[in-house]
Amino acid sequence: MSAQLLGLHQPGTTWLHRLPAGAKLLGLMAASLVVVLVHGPASAVVFVLVAAGLVVWSGARLGFTLRAMRWLLLTAAILGAWTVWQNGWPRAVEVVGDLVALILLATTLTVTTPVDEVMDAVARGLRPLRRVGVDPEAVALAFSLMLRAIPTTIGLAEESRDAAVARGLERSPRARLIPFVVRVVARAHDTGDALHARGIGDD
């Protein structure tokens, strides 16, 4: 159930909801650049606080959002532990802080913006590139499929874990990983078939 809410638009009337999708996308890109380019643990903590503030301001259901993000946060924690071991605390705070800030910023975008609007904004933004062979509609669709793939992939990971546990193989990374990869590839194949069958991408 947690995966269902990640990347899901939650209707609202906040200023963030009213801001045009294109402006939010540009803002996300700019903020992401700042997060990546500004180094240091202190700035990473500030970025997390600002991004968390935006999520709260967006009116997102916090309990649900946090539950939806728990696997991403777990991944960030594992990455943090590895970085502490390899490079020490300051670097770990910076890496994990930057990652969590980026996740929170992206969540703010998806919570406050319907995917349809994001697709339109991406397609509009890429329209000048049509001259060099870029298909803006196709890129916009790929963008939305990527957003959709996040909760789907998390759901498949949970299914694979449950299947391994049911067979008493909870400690076997192989029993989790191989079925997970097979499921992800099969789902990608099925999604491709479904898009093809609906004639999406034909235009």
Binding site: T152, D190, A194, R198
Partner: protein
């Protein structure tokens, strides 16, 4: 010109030893409004259904839909032939119900506001009014299949191919989807293990071991299948 025609069609897949034929030479003309394909698992029914909109290409022979060759006029054929899969989860590609239907309407409704209004109208037509903002993940099997059907029919196809659309559903939802499919004005080709559904069609084909073993009235073909399964 209307209807579906298979002319000496075969389908083979490559194997380590060469190739395996999964559909032997088949010639058919399907003009009835409601056609069911029945048969054991792995018999080639889904392959036969997938030929009809080019999801599976014919290895030899020709598939013609409404006078259009599927191999050469795929885009036009896909506009006429809608396809519903067994698992709606694979078919619903957008986060919410409204956005998923709106995706189908992008070709016919360029204006976004009009598109969303049209999507809500489609949802209402399928008994999904109020589902617009619901996550496609959170839908029950029946609701998901209904939404998948709505998304496909929103494109205005003249033929609908459904590959085991009721297999994952409980009895109530299975009946609901079955009734809806059989009541459509479009020509319907349905792959199914639900013999009650098959018996309500106009023509039934029994596919076994990659061949159409029997083709005729529902009473005859379903009766034969029940006796020989």
């Amino acid at each position: 010109m209307s209807g579906i025609r298979l002319e000496q069609v075969t389908v083979s897949v490559p194997t380590q030893d060469g190739e395996r034929r999964i559909l032997h030479e088949t010639s058919l003309e399907l003009t009835e409004r409601r056609v069911a394909l029945v048969g054991p698992n792995g018999s080639g029914k889904s392959t036969l259904a997938r030929l009809l909109n080019g999801l599976v290409p014919a290895t030899t022979g020709r598939v013609v839909v409404d006078g259009l060759d599927v191999a050469h006029e795929g885009r036009e054929v896909r506009r006429r032939v809608g396809f519903v899969f067994t698992d709606p989860a694979a078919q619903l590609v957008m986060p919410t119900a409204r956005e998923d239907v709106a995706l189908s309407l992008r070709r016919t409704h360029r204006d976004k506001t009009e598109r969303l209004v049209a999507a809500d109208r489609v949802l209402a037509d399928f008994g999904l009014a109020g589902f617009g903002d619901r996550s496609v993940h959170g839908l029950s099997g029946g609701e998901g299949q209904l939404l998948a059907l709505a998304g496909v029919l929103a494109t205005g196809p003249s033929i609908l191919v459904a590959d085991e659309p009721t297999t994952l559903l409980d009895l109530g939802n299975s009946r609901r989807i079955g009734d809806l499919l059989l009541g459509l004005e479009q020509q319907l080709v349905v792959v199914t293990h639900d013999l009650d559904l098959a018996e309500r069609c106009d023509r039934v084909l029994l596919v076994r071991d990659g061949r159409v073993e029997r083709d005729g009235s529902p009473a005859d073909v379903v009766g034969h299948y029940r006796a020989t399964a």
